[in-house]
């Protein structure tokens, strides 16, 4: 078998991943090129500190922590990267089964001597590799950008923050793939996945901004709550959160495999 499905998936999607990675890298580079100097950063801090704490948290800044170039950079980059790369994640997830099932290609593939499980898993694995490529290219823009600014940025921490986003992005891919198994139709899958990501995003944002009432509890249901870049910059990768996301992801993959294994294809 020689990982034919894996290699085929890499071949089909590497250009898209490269384009996304380069695009994100350029966006990071652009953001860095407008990054303020130390004086401006202090002015920004004063401005932000004048805001209500809830609003400050909305920008990904922790009120209780020191306002550092790293935390400010993380707030600039990672609150935006979540929504932009969510588009990549959802599209990638739909390509695991839904796209080809709707196009009628899956019937041809399933008539070959390859199991459904193998098709699903090798494709998820290929997207795991490609997603890492996207994030690495995205980080490379940040790395190059750090050479352009006066402020000293802790690149190791920024790398950790980038890496910390990997489980969340994979979560978007896997959850969309699961939706693909359940819903079958491409546009329906894309629509529901987009709603899922947006709801998760708002639960996370509002939950971190509002410290009272039901919102903090609801925030626990958003997978993005386990992926706060500002937390990573301040405290490093939270391995407990990563493991939790991984466990949920494995559960989703198993659920998708059971559904994929049992149902009719291409109807």
């Amino acid at each position: 078998m020689a990982w034919v499905i894996f290699r085929q998936a890499l071949r089909h999607h590497w250009r898209t991943a490269l384009a996304w990675g380069v695009g994100m890298g350029l966006l990071n580079l652009l953001t860095m090129s407008f990054f303020p100097n130390l004086d401006a950063l202090r002015q920004f801090e004063q401005l932000f500190r004048a805001l209500p704490p809830a609003l400050m948290q909305t920008f990904g800044l922790n009120v209780n922590e020191q306002f550092t170039p790293d935390s400010f950079l993380a707030s600039l980059l990672f609150t935006r990267i979540v929504l932009i790369l969510a588009v990549y994640g959802v599209l990638a997830g739909a390509s695991i089964t839904a796209n080809e099932e709707e196009a009628g290609i899956m019937s041809v593939l399933l008539a070959q001597p390859v199991s459904r499980t193998r098709i699903f898993l090798e494709r998820v694995l290929a997207h795991a590799v490609l997603t890492a490529l996207v994030l690495l290219l995205s980080f490379s823009g940040l790395m190059i950008g750090s050479l352009l600014i006066e402020l000293e940025v802790n690149l190791a921490r920024q790398f950790e923050a980038t890496l910390g986003f990997y489980p969340a992005l994979m979560m978007m891919i896997v959850s969309t793939a699961l939706l693909g198994v359940v819903l079958r139709r491409r546009w329906l899958v894309l629509g529901v996945a987009a709603v899922f990501v947006l709801v998760s995003y708002f639960l996370d944002t509002l939950g971190s901004a509002i410290s009272e009432g039901i919102m903090p509890t609801l925030r626990q249901f958003s997978f993005l709550a386990y992926n706060a870049a500002s937390d990573v910059v301040a405290r490093g990768i939270q391995w407990g959160d990563v493991l939790l996301l991984l466990a949920v992801m494995v559960g989703m993959v198993l659920l998708a495999l059971v559904g994929w294994q049992q149902r009719d294809v291409g109807l």
Partner: protein, 308 residues
């Protein structure tokens, strides 16, 4: 000897409750080694449903099917190693080159070198340039790609869904040759069609499917001996009643209808008695054509009549 395809009381129902639709009902069928079996029926009869169950693309509601003695659902990967499949409407990755897809599929089966060599040979015989991307092919050339993919590993069983639809006469001839070669090598072919004439020259037996039920399994020679033709005859208006009476007297004339100066009927069996009768009538125009499979079926079995 164990049949290559063994289908026992296979049923497939889509949906549930009031929206339920039975696509296949209680199908029992065997196809033997070295046989070219035509699976015939009008659109929506359940041909593709049967094929998709055999390939484990969809699962049956009841009954079981096996290929080479292996259950098609539980042992699908083993079954597929010995099966070549061409779908009715071939969909492939539009941006990929055919040669790349051929390589991938060969690698999925392992030992790809002889498969690729034979794929080259097939491409030459079919006059196909496999270096092009799928989106660059015409419908006919896409079907050629499908044929190469189905045949390149010289499978013991070929399952072809409407393989002849859309083929030009030259390609149809090559296709027939390839099927006869497969048969000569002792391989088995299971092909579906809704046009009897397109497959009658290569099939040993045909199964006729209608409304999800197998109506009959016939020897093709027997079916041809009882050939069915549609006849449209024009006679002067004043001779129409006489002509209709003469034709109705023939035992092989069925479903005679009488329009303005035009007589239409279905004729079953040897043509000689009809030709002799027509010689005595003032025929102005005559059109004899092949009927659709549905009409053949009606001519033999009548509406709603189930055989076997």
């Amino acid at each position: 000897m164990q049949p290559v395809i063994d289908i026992q009381r296979l049923s497939k129902q889509y949906g549930q409750g009031r929206k339920a639709f039975t696509a296949l009902h209680d199908l029992t069928l065997s196809v033997h080694q070295g046989e070219v079996f035509g699976y015939l029926g009008p659109n929506g009869a359940g041909k593709s449903t049967t094929i998709h169950i055999l390939l484990d693309i969809i699962r049956p509601t009841a009954g079981r099917a096996s290929i080479f003695g292996r259950d098609v659902s539980r042992e699908s990967v083993e079954v597929h190693k010995r099966v070549g499949f061409m779908p009715g409407e071939l969909a492939l990755w539009r941006g990929e080159r055919a040669s790349q897809i051929i390589r991938d599929f060969a690698q999925l089966r392992g030992n790809s070198t002889p498969q690729l060599r034979y794929a080259d040979e097939l491409a030459q015989r079919l006059n196909l340039d496999p270096s092009k991307r799928i989106r660059e092919y015409s419908t006919g050339n896409k079907r050629k790609v499908g044929l190469v993919l189905a045949l390149m590993h010289k499978p013991d069983l070929l399952i072809l869904d409407e393989p002849t639809s859309g083929l030009d006469p030259l390609l149809q001839h090559t296709f027939n040759q390839l099927m006869l070669e497969a048969k000569a090598e002792g391989r088995t072919v299971f092909l579906s069609s809704h046009v009897l004439s397109e497959v009658q020259s290569i099939c040993d037996r045909v199964g006729i499917l209608r409304g999800g039920e197998l109506q009959s399994v016939e020897n093709v020679q027997g079916l041809l001996a009882n050939g069915v033709r549609k006849v449209v005859l024009q006679v002067p208006l004043e001779a129409q009643a006489h002509a209709a009476a003469c034709l109705e007297a023939l035992p092989n004339v069925r479903d005679l209808t009488n329009g303005s100066a035009t007589l239409r009927f279905t004729y079953v069996g040897q043509m000689q008695p009809l030709v002799e009768q027509l010689a005595h009538l003032p025929v102005q125009d005559l059109l004899i054509s092949e009927p659709s499979l549905e009409e053949v079926f009606l001519a033999f079995y009548g509406d709603n009549e189930k055989v076997n």
